[in-house]
């Protein structure tokens, strides 16, 4: 019987297979950041161990880093200690680090692909659940815990429990104004936050094949929000074109050899998935979340659902709790929900294409009075490219804040946070209670919806903007 893409990549990395034991897999690329690594390095020190393969390991700083005044000492002493700990650990163990201020610094899942380190058919791990992002290249990429970080540092391998395979097939074409973010939010709403549990999801079908690498990364990024072990997309010409010429992409004979291998990385015709889901791209519209987990979403044109409409008692209870936390009432049209803050950024939607999309919406417009809009590039290189294209000016002319690269308001670990009760439209990936700051309320949206929302001050898509005031000069 044929094998799926995920099974092929897995098989190619088995170091040891023994009856009754999990397979021991070799790890091609280990990404580190400051939050989940200190206790792992400590473990190495306590046991007198080294980093086995510093040449397959790379670190950056993202979660704690401020996005303003980055040349000044970091104000929060605890954040500062964590960053200093990473610097000390990387120096001591010989790990390449891109610290704050470095041209290759940024959100870890933006940095790996842009350096060309994330390649088809590789195994990628990071002590971060959104490692699933890298699956967009046909890599098998897992988020791991700190004990596993230590394990990979010491052995460059991981014992891994077997997985099941799921195909999410998206055929058709995304309508104008509907993005990869809307698609993945709709997928999660359909299968639920636990629906992907134990599975590696492969996204396939004609709609996926048309997507850019940036959009594919958005989709794979949020696989974890459906509870999946990983998300993957088979590599194709779009993948190869993205990689060619990048810093760490293979060259010369290695490129040819790599390309020949990458082309074999497709699910065989006769392979069977353990579970299949089909989505019709043509039927999709802009999608937003109304609740406190990424599965609690609905089309922007819909209204806040009535908890009583959920058949499952658990879903009903969690919808009730969510509406209470979010300060929403059943039946309220989502388009009438007013926001205080708009956040464009994160490893979900902080790449150049996302910034271009948001800029095209605010271009020549002003964001609504009383709304704060933060635009935070996913990496320094994304920021430089955006400045090159004049996008920073478009944002600031509209009244938005142009910030330095980092995780920023995706999570409440650095100075960019919502105040209690504040409401945001955010291009990030999690709308959990307090995720963007204690008491903050988050609606997950695409970059286009975020930008239109900033202009109108309420949840909106670019299509709603026809009446919005357009300034003649930028």
């Amino acid at each position: 019987m044929g094998r799926t893409l995920a099974e092929k990549v897995w098989d190619d990395h088995v170091v040891r297979r023994a009856e009754g034991e999990p397979d021991l897999l070799f790890i091609d690329l280990h990404l580190l950041h400051e939050v989940t690594s200190p206790q792992a390095f400590d473990g190495l020190r306590m046991n007198g161990r080294q980093v086995r393969r510093t040449d397959l390991t790379i670190a950056t700083e993202d979660h704690n880093t401020p996005t303003l005044d980055i040349d000044k000492p970091i104000a929060d002493p605890v954040s500062r200690t964590q960053l200093e700990t990473l610097r000390k650990n990387c120096a001591e163990f010989g790990v390449r680090l891109h610290p704050l201020g470095d041209v290759d610094q940024g959100v870890v899942h933006v940095v790996g692909p842009q350096l060309g380190l994330t390649q088809p058919g590789t195994t990628v791990v990071c002590g971060d659940s959104h490692t699933s992002t890298h699956g967009a290249f046909g890599a098998l990429a897992f988020g791991i815990g700190t004990s596993q970080v230590e394990h990979v540092l010491a052995t460059q391998t991981l014992p891994m429990a077997p997985f099941r395979t799921m195909a999410v097939t998206v055929d058709g074409e995304l309508p104008e104004g509907v993005t990869a973010k809307d698609l993945i939010l709709a997928v999660i709403a359909q299968i639920g936050t636990g629906g992907g549990q134990g599975y590696v999801i492969e996204y396939r079908g004609s709609a996926i094949e048309k997507l850019s690498m940036e959009s594919r990364m958005t989709i794979c990024n949020m696989s974890i929000e459906a509870g999946a072990r990983a998300g993957m997309i088979a590599p194709d010409q779009i993948t190869f074109d993205y990689l060619e010429g990048r810093d760490h992409a293979p060259t010369g004979a290695d490129w040819d050899e790599a390309l020949a291998y990458w082309k074999t990385l497709r699910t065989d015709e006769d392979a069977v998935f353990d579970h299949e889901v089909r989505i019709d791209a043509d039927a999709l519209t802009p999608f937003v979340t109304w609740g406190t987990n990424p599965g609690q979403g609905a089309p922007l044109s819909a209204s806040v659902p009535d908890p009583a409409s959920f058949a499952d008692p658990g879903d009903r209870l969690s919808a009730e709790k969510a509406l209470e936390y979010m300060g929403l009432t059943a039946g309220q049209p989502l388009r009438e929900v007013a926001v205080d803050t708009v956040f464009v950024g994160s490893c979900t939607n902080g790449r150049i294409e996302d910034l271009r999309a948001a800029a095209s919406v605010v271009q020549g417009r002003k964001i609504a009075d009383g709304v704060r809009m933060l635009v935070v590039p996913g990496s320094v290189r994304v920021a430089l490219q955006a400045v090159d294209e004049g996008l920073d000016k478009v944002f600031t002319a509209a009244g938005a804040e142009w910030r330095h690269a980092g995780c920023s308001m995706c999570l409440g670990m650095n100075p960019d946070q919502l105040a209690p009760g504040e409401r945001s439209a955010s291009t990030s990936n999690r709308n959990f209670e307090g995720r963007q700051g204690k008491g903050g309320r988050t609606h997950l949206v695409s970059p286009q919806v975020a930008a239109a929302t900033a202009v109108l001050g309420r949840l909106a898509s670019p299509a709603d903007l026809s009446d919005a005031p357009v300034l003649t000069e930028v």
């Binding site: 999990p22 070799f26 060309g116 659940s129 987990n293 409440g412």
Partner: protein, 197 residues
């Protein structure tokens, strides 16, 4: 890692589903660089509410957490496991755990037990009615016992063996050094390296 064989203790019934790791330990606690001292961060936001079950005086010293489905979703932070352990929990029972959380828990000796939702309901009713009721989680027999409840649970033999023995994964893997070296020697040269050319 501390070994886990069998544990008996009082329980905290947590009637919530989809408890994500941001609720178990909020992000601002993740700045610590140690594995301990997370007990005050456990369910921090919910504990501000006096009626939250963990705040009830009769739950003090409880060591068994009985939670709703999809416990530990979201972030990969192992701090969630440490926070539960630092607080004093030895085991968590739920009908479904998020994968990364489950892996993290078993690596730290926090036994996560998957039980049918009906059994969870039974345990909720029992321990809500009687806070002194004890729950036993027996890894040797792979069974959860409480008054009126005897429920078998599954855990694969390998994970069980490592927990029972309190074995450190890294030492086990390093025992297979020859396999790792052999794999490395046949790894193609086109594979990525983080070393600058």
């Amino acid at each position: 890692m501390e070994a886990f064989t069998t544990h008996t203790g009082r329980a905290v019934p947590l009637r919530r589903g989809n408890v994500d790791t941001d609720q178990i330990i909020p992000a601002h606690w993740l700045k610590k660089v140690t594995r301990n001292g997370f007990e005050d961060g456990l369910f921090e936001a919910w504990r501000k509410d006096e009626s939250f079950v963990l705040n009830a005086p009769e739950r003090k010293g409880a060591t068994v957490l009985v939670a709703g489905p999809d416990f530990g979703t979201g972030s990969s932070r192992e701090h969630a496991v440490w926070a539960l352990q630092n607080y004093g929990f030895k085991t968590v029972l739920s009908s479904r755990f998020a994968d990364i959380f489950r892996g993290n828990s078993l690596k730290n000796g926090l036994l996560t037990v998957v039980l049918p939702q009906e059994v969870i309901e039974q345990l909720w009713k029992l321990t809500e009615a009687d806070p002194t009721a004890e729950v036993t989680v027996d890894l040797v027999a792979r069974e959860v016992r409480a008054e009126g409840v005897t429920a078998p649970f599954e855990l694969d033999d390998n994970a069980r063996w490592r927990l029972l023995e309190g074995l450190d994964d890294i030492s086990l893997t390093l025992g297979n050094e020859a396999d790792i070296a052999a794999f490395e020697s046949r790894r193609p040269s086109h594979k990525p390296s983080t070393v600058r050319a």
